[in-house]
Symmetry: C2
Subunit: 709 residues, 2 copies
Amino acid sequence: MPRSSRQASDRDGRATSLPLTGDSDLPTCNRPRASVRRVVVEGVRPAVDGGRFPIKRTVGESVEVDATVFADGHDRLTVVLEDRRVDSGAWREIGMVAVDAGVDRWAARFSVDAIGWHEYRVAAWIDRFGSWRHDLEVKSASGHDVSLELLEGAQLVRDAAARAGEAGRLEKPGHDSTGADTSARGLDAADWLIAQADRLSGFGSISDRVAAALADDLRAMMTAHSDRSRASRSRVFRVWVDRERARFGAWYEMFPRSAGPDANRSATFREAMTRLPAIADLGFDVLYLPPIHPIGVSFRKGRNNRLVAEPGDPGSPWAIGAEAGGHTAIDPGLGSFDDFHAFRDLAQRLRLEIALDLAWQCSPDHPWVREHPDWFRQRPDGTIKYAENPPKRYQDIYPLDFECDDWAALWRALRDVALFWIDQGIRIFRVDNPHTKAFPFWKWFIDEIRARQPETIFLSEAFTRPAPMHYLAKAGFTQSYTYFTWRNSKAEITEYFTDLSAAHVREYLRPNLFANTPDILHAYLQVGGRPAFEARLLLAAALGASYGIYSGFELAENRAVPGTEEYADSEKYQLRQWDWDRVGHIKELVARVNSIRRRHRALQSDWTLRFHATDNPEIIAFSKSAGNDTILTVVNLDPRYMQHGWVECPLQAAGQGGKTRDDSYLVRDLLDDTVYEWRGTWNYVRFDPGVRQGHMLRLERQGFHSRTA
Amino acid sequence: MPRSSRQASDRDGRATSLPLTGDSDLPTCNRPRASVRRVVVEGVRPAVDGGRFPIKRTVGESVEVDATVFADGHDRLTVVLEDRRVDSGAWREIGMVAVDAGVDRWAARFSVDAIGWHEYRVAAWIDRFGSWRHDLEVKSASGHDVSLELLEGAQLVRDAAARAGEAGRLEKPGHDSTGADTSARGLDAADWLIAQADRLSGFGSISDRVAAALADDLRAMMTAHSDRSRASRSRVFRVWVDRERARFGAWYEMFPRSAGPDANRSATFREAMTRLPAIADLGFDVLYLPPIHPIGVSFRKGRNNRLVAEPGDPGSPWAIGAEAGGHTAIDPGLGSFDDFHAFRDLAQRLRLEIALDLAWQCSPDHPWVREHPDWFRQRPDGTIKYAENPPKRYQDIYPLDFECDDWAALWRALRDVALFWIDQGIRIFRVDNPHTKAFPFWKWFIDEIRARQPETIFLSEAFTRPAPMHYLAKAGFTQSYTYFTWRNSKAEITEYFTDLSAAHVREYLRPNLFANTPDILHAYLQVGGRPAFEARLLLAAALGASYGIYSGFELAENRAVPGTEEYADSEKYQLRQWDWDRVGHIKELVARVNSIRRRHRALQSDWTLRFHATDNPEIIAFSKSAGNDTILTVVNLDPRYMQHGWVECPLQAAGQGGKTRDDSYLVRDLLDDTVYEWRGTWNYVRFDPGVRQGHMLRLERQGFHSRTA
């Protein structure tokens, strides 16, 4: 066949579209054909419940994707990871690499650099040119006659030229970032490819033609213009990307009404401002306030949760709503919106971000009880059903009925409450008992808020069974309270945090480890005294990239209602005045720990958590790392007695796996800057509760030296 | 409120439809409302890839379903498992039981009693009456005033009455199996419920009214007429149900052309019939024949896979197609269709089911090469591309091009080949190298065949990487060849079969353990001699509910092409005449094992496989059980030397967990009917390769007695 006629027929016949039928005089092998997608893409990870729920990231993090991809036979595959910001629309693409050909597993990663929704998927197709190129290489090395193969390859290249030309014509006139004309580029590629095809099928020597066929630039251009018409694609998986605070932060909870000069009345926000510098000095990032709204009078609880309040008892802030207003009002005792704004602004200048409480319930005095009685459950006698857990009754609280006839208006009203406070500059909400409200509400609510203010962070306070707790995280909550307060032994802590950091869980659930709350003063703290508080602080701050304490923790306040986890004289029901410098406080440790957390990226994510062996059941050891920075935290869980023992040091994790047991190296306790010389894997530690309850050791890369050197 | 007016308004107001707005004088609490589905149903098992692929069962088996189901708050839930035959349309329903409330896990099972597609799903809704009933019980026990609660309950019952009445009116006039009028039943239920509601809200004493509220018959009727309008449902999951042979069977592979009187020509089917009684006597269920079609002449392979055939060499049956026809023809050497039918009919009378080979490839002489050259890959010189794995070439084979332009016609032609043999009475196909044909084809092909003949069984011969092998099973293949031939050590066998029987794998992949094939004579058999064949037979037959041997195995035929797994003088390329009674055969053992398999249900499923500890790495022990029947197989893997040691007996599995180490009991070796007295968990075994290579022990329930008794 004369070369010129073949070439012309390619140029003409393929100028407008790819022929899908075999009626030309051209060989039909290796042509693109319709409909049969031979590549299987399955098992894409990460994926929450097969992609039903999004995974979570923060800005700057990456998503490592892998998938099982294969086809029948021995053809080579091209596998790519596609990702995009949902807003911007354009898919990016990066080649995936076969990480384990024996199990057909491919991997690649992309990073997310903006708040909001992102998507990813895996696409794969038969790499005809790559398959052909590989066969050509083997056959020509074996001395086979490859002249027919070269003609087949030339056809593949001409097919690619046609695609390149078509793409160039379809491209809207425009210019890329270098100023080049983008549509001209496709046409240039087409011309270049046709020239290459001519070389493959031309009059040169076989060895020259094989060399042209195997050239790297041809391979690259063929990859760029490969035939994707029968690409197989996975479903689209979603990523919700938050700002960094969603991943990392130290929280401090306080009752502003207690922070005033007069023990007999609520402090105003303006008065409570005086506490802010001290809290900022402790190194906290988030200041969480229980509900700041007017408190109901009907059935108001008295001190220590008495059923009847005395005159002057302030009531529980969670009994929301009174004459002065409901969820969008401020309790008159706390002052005006001006006072609140002043408090908020000072906090902001001190790098303390305010978190408010969303507690979707009402006192009997809430305006909604009059305005929207149908948002509550009504009884046959016309009264509204109060909260109960028979035989217990909570007459100061009316639950909202999330499936009432007027549920759509109720849901919108709740959304508007959150938007109201967002207008007041609030971007973090701690959500009270979300597991007692209809789950479909949360999914809708969080999506609605995020569509308007994507920086918003929601912390789920669901102390319930694992399934609903995890479901709330999947449905959209940014962070979740955990069972941390009830995990005090080495075995409990190890098992629980191993579970929480498991690959499939960490994709959607971000733990926030509160060491205490106004509702939970664990027996370990009640009886363990100051060393117990120190140990739990170290655990919370080092195990959790997000952690929190409720004020009083830094004073080692441990008086409880006997036989309960309730604080004695709880601030939930009364005003308290605290001596913030009283004997036994652990403020220096708190400040030190928070400062270490801010300086060490290793502590700002939960993904690298690993537990390490010790030979003493009272001593727990775990590490986190980021790049070269590895922090090994070792804590004595026994607040009463000296404990000592041997700890296995994660040399491998610290990138020092080559060290032998004879090599020594330095570890620095970041808590007091003491440097220890350690040797090999196992090293000795000793903790006297009167002196220290743990170490936060940085493995120093400098200072390593071999004993034998 | 006067009782009569309330009652009348209920009856009248609710006679035609349920009010969805709150504008009547009735209490609005506990009314059905629109749209909010509060129950979450997730994590339904079994599910293959989240339900993308069906699970598999055989007729009479059951499906144990569990799911995570929960709602917000403390309401009680009703959770049901729904299943149906896809043909019949009607969903059955069975209540699911909370197996572990702490993790919200619910379970139930259904059984499948017909071949074909079945479906299942989980549905759940708030059990308002149950929640209310529980609260009433607690409150009245605590002495609370429950008069309002009783009115609320009465309303719930009236709501149910309205639903029952509505259901009765919607029911088509008809009669159930007892002859009762089905629509009248709903109306009767409505009347009965209204009477109960009257009792709850009536003038009786509180204690009488509470007793009426808590009555079991009311609870049952309320469950039957519960409000499902806001039920949450999982997706629908599919089950493909096969006949029993899909789960259990002993396969025998033979080349009928070798089974004749004349060593110099192919036997006809009529001649090969003489072999059938002997094969049936060995206890096999399936007789698998390599391709029986005309064999190509072009590039025909000679004996021992020589590139050039000598005159008289019969060629490989997998080089399908010649002058005499293609995939729907019978090789003239094998005789006529009449001969084939005679062979098939005798096999059937001997309870041997014929399995044919589907090998989708053609010799250069196949009629399709002339009739449909476009079904193959054509080269620039007009020739058809033969199979190759560069630098190796297989010029006697033309692969079909599953994505050719005319692919739809090709696919239909292949389907019609299978349907042709189904018309010949064939119901089992062994599929040659399915992993080298486009995967979407198999899914379509198997669905098409099953829609026409659901008894059809497909065995996938995909000796390839795990991902495509498993994918073919998911896509529809009934059974799969395995890596069994290459798993010979205790560790290899234990790991491999533990993986294959894992909960998520066994739902879709049914292994068929061939101990040898015409392509695979493993070195273990080559060097191990008769004891090796005995050991591998016991392993295959006891590990695999489906297993097979290729003829010659029972003769311990072990001559290989040196340095390969190929048989010397392989029947793939030449005729062989065998002396079926030659010295060293293991036919008695084969017959015995197959007989044991037929008598013991324990060996007819792979789901109960468990490995047990032994103290000798050459001795492997595992058990299967069905009801009270537990079979413990113990095999010496060393074909050369005597091995002895201790075996851990699965007393627990045998339902004898209460036995102590001092109790003795009997185990019977089903291979030779020897009875041993064993004591406690660990017992001694000893195997001399000259005597026996293993035990198949039945744990006898009779004969247990305590030493101390």
